[in-house]
Amino acid sequence: MNQKQNILNKYESWGRFPRSEPREVVNLFWRNEIPDLNQFSSSVLAYAYGKSYGDSCQNDGGILLDTKGLSRLISWDRKKGIIRCESGVTLAEILDFAVPQGWFLASTPGTKYISVGGALANDVHGKNHHKNGTFGCHVIKFELIRSNGERLICSEDENYELFCATIGGLGLTGLITWVEFKLQPCPSSFFAIESIKFDSLEEFFEINEESEVFDYTVSWVDTTATGSKLGRGIYNRGNHANPKLYKLPDLPKPKQIPLPIEAPFINSCTVNVFNMLYYNKQMNKVEKQIVHYDPFFYPLDAVVGWNRAYGKNGFIQYQFVVPFERGKETIQKILRKVSDSGMSSFLTVLKTFGYVKSPGMLSFPRPGITMAVDFRYDGQQVLDKLKELDVLVREAGGVIYPAKDSRMSSDDFQRFYPNWKEFSEFIDPKFSSSFWRRVTKS
């Protein structure tokens, strides 16, 4: 394999399915020296950390603009908690910088190793969606470079339509060079959390109802449990720990274990064992702890490259949201389908989204209950089974999350996001992605 090939191969998506390869990668290092995008013979797409599971960060046969080198801060208002930084800066860097000064991300997904540009383009959500909405709800302004050379400032006051189209716009409206956004005050690096075991979905909903007052909520569900145990899991909820109320431990030393090999560790056997151990690890009904933000928000970041444990064929994450009215019934049906079919999922997450509206035009989060399920990709049969889940999501009036998707049909996409045509008017003619070509082909 030659050097160039070797580099191109590294531009995978997190799920590593489907495989795709850019024709060329252009590394960006300086926000004021972005090359003329029209000089390229094929379409372009920004690529940051490739933490999107499916093909929304892929541009098979086209050009990827690697934004990791756009990694500088630009300004910081410590009093107001407003930061402006280049789009390749990671959430991890923001936390390192801001938490000691008493500021936390107003919204963060389950990994901190993503870029600010990626967080904006997928309008990501976190455990506090029911309180704070999405990442895009906290964006004040950003700069967008279009292929005609225009550099546009987008905010509520300027280029507002492009502002809304770019938040959750899947990187298709142009290249974001910097973003200015608001953080929220935090009293410490720690969280006071409670973990509550639940035996059924009914119980999940009961706990969830009384938990809306907590700033952060998320649950893990045991998809290997069947029969009367179906829907059991652990509910996590928490708030920022105020040092005036709690005795805080010392800051932990960051630990990361690399998983450099590609081996199919994750199979139905290990998944069963893991889920059983995870559920039984907690002895009591309720456990209370003070934990650092790393294990609370980013448990998966502790194992670098865990996605490779699915083996060379990769995996698929299936995340959808269904409205509250049909929530319980749909989740129940889906859980049953998943456990009956034996396609057990390593990590299954359940959470409710709230009513805070994002400016994002194509954003995924909306009021309802969301579930994310991981499946190892081992051929057509997974795809067939997921089609059965699609039917249930569709019937319930739900939608699937593009940032995690690698297989939804174009019909489904267009039904889930009926304003996609209106959105297309804002797409930069030079930008495209594997995802977009897939879901818009008729």
């Binding site: 580099i7 300086w30 930061i83």
Partner: protein, 247 residues
């Protein structure tokens, strides 16, 4: 010695920027020199967003040798003296193209070796009079042994390393520290075209090593430290075997 006034040449380099941030955190004033104003400003903005400190920028193409002294004087004037100088600029040209072109060879040598020697000499003469000061220079493990894949760059760095040995010997008699920094492979714009292996380090980690080496006045540092071992092995391969390898 307190390091409160620091001049950095090649300050827009990914590695040097990290060192600058760490010194800014300690409240040091910085005189940042590099070839491109816009890039210097981006780096300045990054530092100032983090820490409120005094920063002056100066644009210099190190190939303009006659401008070395004026820039150096301006730095002394702007910060009202200097405590330390870090020299970090460099280029990694394509070996195969460079070896075919005399002009390119000279250029690479002038950037990576001669200009480093002249700038370090200016700093040395200044600190020698003051009887205190610190000169840190980023050389490279590539200077430890010539290899077919990058021996023009490597020999320029090798020249720097040897020069610094002599300079350290001279300066030791005047209470001036001279540090040779030899990074292994680092993920920066300079190596963007190379496929990355687990041996690559992050500029932030290398910056921290350099910062610590400056505080503790080391002589020679490999960054990270395990490169000392790797290079020990590389250097000890007998020449009659080494010349047959494709390295």
């Amino acid at each position: 010695m307190d390091m409160k006034k620091i001049m950095i040449v090649g300050a827009a380099s990914a590695i040097a920027k990290e060192v600058a941030i760490l010194f800014a955190k300690e409240g040091a004033s910085l005189y940042l020199v590099d070839i491109n104003q816009g890039r210097l400003e981006a780096v300045e903005g990054d530092i100032l967003a983090r820490y409120d400190t005094k920063i002056k920028l100066d644009v210099l193409n190190v190939l303009d040798f006659e401008r070395h002294e004026p820039v150096f004087k301006r730095a002394i004037e702007a910060l009202n003296g200097l405590d330390a100088v870090l020299i970090a600029h460099g280029t990694l040209a394509n070996q195969e193209e460079t070896q075919q072109d005399i002009e390119k060879i000279i250029r690479e040598f002038n950037i990576n070796c001669v200009s480093v020697i002249t700038l370090a000499s200016l700093a040395a003469n200044y600190f020698e009079k003051k009887k205190e000061g610190l000169i840190a220079v980023i050389s490279s493990v590539a200077g430890d042994r010539g290899r077919m894949s990058n021996y023009i760059y490597g020999s320029a760095k090798g020249g720097v390393t040897t020069f610094l040995q002599g300079l350290r010997n001279r300066m030791a008699h005047s209470n001036v520290t001279v540090i040779t920094i030899k990074p292994g492979m680092v993920d920066t714009p300079m190596t963007a075209h190379l496929p990355k292996s687990p041996l690559f380090s992050k500029p932030k980690d290398i910056g921290k090593i350099i910062y610590k080496a400056m505080l503790s006045k080391k002589d020679v540092v490999y960054a990270p430290g395990y490169w000392r071992l790797i290079m020990w092995v590389v250097v000890h391969i007998p020449e009659f075997i080494f010349k047959k390898l494709k390295m």
